[in-house]
């Protein structure tokens, strides 16, 4: 597999960075690939915009930043507006469909929506929306093996919440697979 550059954006508190960490962990620890994560480092706090850049490659990664992502994952309107102009034409947009209205996309972009926040609420905790999103990412992109992502979720969430997070992952994963017609 060639190099895949991913940008994940949302609001501070939505678990944006953790979702990047889970994808990176899944790739580099459980799936035998290389991954580099860079987090936007600035005066970010809860409620303001926040993003992670993840590069996944079969070969070692040189240049560490993501400039024109192949895959853009957005959990907020602000993140969509900020990052969509740099999405690679022909790339992939994954978005929280009740928060983002995906218009004016670069040419050839394939878009996939999910009501991640509502799903998370239905599961009992709005907090797991990022894990729903990670599941959705795994289901739509097929970039990583679902087992690897599942393991990375379990290795990254607080003890005692494994079951809830696994259900969140599955919810997102299944929605993702339905979206791409698997």
């Amino acid at each position: 597999m060639a190099k895949n550059e991913i940008r994940i954006g949302g609001l501070g508190g939505q678990g944006v960075i953790l979702s990047g960490i889970i994808i990176g962990k899944a790739a580099s620890i459980y799936d035998g690939k290389h991954a580099t994560l860079i987090q936007a480092f600035g005066p970010e706090a809860r409620g303001s915009s926040c993003s992670a850049q993840v590069t996944v490659d079969d070969d070692p990664i040189g240049y560490p930043y993501v400039k024109k992502p192949d895959i853009l994952v957005v959990m907020s309107r602000d993140a969509f507006t900020q990052f969509v102009p740099n999405l690679k034409p022909g790339g992939m947009l994954l978005y929280e469909e009740e928060l983002v209205d995906p218009t004016d996309l670069p040419k050839g972009v394939k878009k996939f929506g999910i009501p991640a926040t509502r799903y998370a609420e239905e599961l009992g905790r709005k907090l797991v929306l990022n894990i729903v999103m990670v599941g959705f990412f795994a289901g739509v992109t097929g970039l990583l093996s679902p087992k690897a992502v599942e393991k990375a979720v379990l290795a990254s969430v607080p003890r005692g919440t494994e079951d809830l997070n696994l259900r969140a992952f599955k919810k997102g994963f299944e929605h993702g697979q339905r979206s791409v017609g698997v």
Partner: protein
């Protein structure tokens, strides 16, 4: 000897360079750190402060960098392996004590997670602009060693080497990270303690008045003692004789300084640590270090795809500088290209080694981000023409 298993977090982790550097220090046996936390180095001491009580050691957050950089030296003479952690603005304040460490031969590691400067500069963005400061920033001539990791894995691996070198040569060792290396998160594999080689301090076995704290054998590195071992010794920043007492005359100064600088000089070939990729027969060689080596590597591959015979020489140890090897290569290479996140610092050393045997092309960058690989590619293509 092997690492103390207590400090070794064996396993596979997905952590940033700052955290990996902390784990490297703990694995190396560092049991005392003092610091005044500063972005982008904060995570090193944040993690150390949380981890070291479980391992059996001490972290002190002090009032400033002067206190931090001298507290570690007290702890070193109490027998501990020590480090302080900072970034540019803090490093500037530590300069006085860098000289003290070098002159009193106190083994210690200074971690510098470089950010844009001068002054407060760019707290959350990278630079490699402290390279000359660590070499020359403290007054007088002094011996030192610097390492430049380019990934979280190397932050772990090379940190162990940094401590080993500090102990072996009794010099200040600088661990020259930058904001990108410090904050990027990647896979880090920490081996079993039994696979990690750590250097034990050279302790004296002499008793009482037989022990002269600054008497060295042919290694030029004296054996050390520590507080509580029963030796009555004097440690001073004044020019001193083998007993450690101030003797302020030209001949003592000459003898002492030549021995101190000699510790690095006679071991220069052994210390130099470079990674070469396709430099033999190359027309152009890119010389790089730290985070820039990753970007340069990408540019080198692009240039090769364009049919250029280009090599890559990456310095793992930046000080002492690999002058001899650069000079050798200058006999066959058309041009050297030196990209760095500063306005032209290590390129001066390349020029010093090359003199007029080849062209030397600097690619300066004011910092704040890394080079675009295309910028380096363009210079390679120009030079190869």
């Amino acid at each position: 000897m092997k690492a103390d298993p207590k400090g070794v977090l064996t396993g596979i982790h997905f952590i940033d360079g700052d955290q990996a550097a902390c784990e490297g220090a703990l694995a190396a046996g560092c049991r005392f750190a003092a610091g005044y936390p500063i972005t982008p180095s904060t995570e090193v001491v944040e993690r150390f402060a949380g981890r070291v009580p479980l391992v059996g050691g001490v972290f002190i957050q002090l009032e400033d960098e002067l206190a931090s950089s001298i507290a570690i030296q007290g702890a070193a003479w109490a027998g501990k392996k020590v480090m302080t952690v900072t970034s540019g603005p803090g490093l500037s304040l530590m300069m006085e004590h860098v000289g003290f460490a070098a002159f009193t031969e106190t083994p210690c590691v200074f971690v510098d997670v470089q950010r844009g400067g001068p002054s407060t500069g760019l707290p959350t963005a990278p630079a490699q602009a402290d390279m000359m400061q660590v070499r020359w920033g403290s007054h007088g001539d002094y011996p030192m060693i610097a390492l430049s990791p380019n990934s979280p894995q190397e932050c772990f691996d090379l940190m162990i080497e940094a401590f080993n070198l500090a102990e072996e040569y009794r010099v200040p060792v600088f661990f020259m990270m930058d904001e990108v290396v410090g904050h990027m998160i990647e896979r880090v594999e920490i081996p079993e303690a039994s696979e990690i080689e750590v250097t034990e301090r050279k302790w004296t076995d002499k008793k009482g008045k037989d022990y002269l704290p600054y008497e060295a054998d042919e290694s030029l590195v004296p054996a050390m003692t520590k507080a509580g071992d029963g030796h009555r010794i004097h440690i001073t920043g004044l020019t001193h004789d083998e007993r450690g007492y101030p003797v302020m005359n030209a001949s003592t100064q000459d003898k002492l300084l030549k021995r101190l600088l000699g510790k690095i000089e006679i071991n220069r070939d052994k210390l130099v640590d470079i990674r070469e990729d396709g430099v033999e027969g190359a027309d152009v060689v890119v010389v790089s270090f730290g985070i820039t080596s990753r970007v340069a590597g990408a540019a080198v591959e692009m240039a090769r795809a364009n049919g250029v015979k280009v090599g890559h020489l990456r310095m793992i140890i930046t000080w002492p500088f690999p002058s001899k090897r650069i000079k050798e290569l200058a006999q066959t290479v058309k041009a050297f290209i030196v990209p760095e996140l500063n306005m032209g610092q290590m390129v001066i050393e390349v020029e010093r080694a090359v003199v007029s045997d080849a062209e030397v092309i600097s690619i300066p960058h004011a910092g704040g981000t890394v080079h675009e690989p295309e910028v380096i590619l363009e210079k390679i293509m120009e030079a190869a023409r």
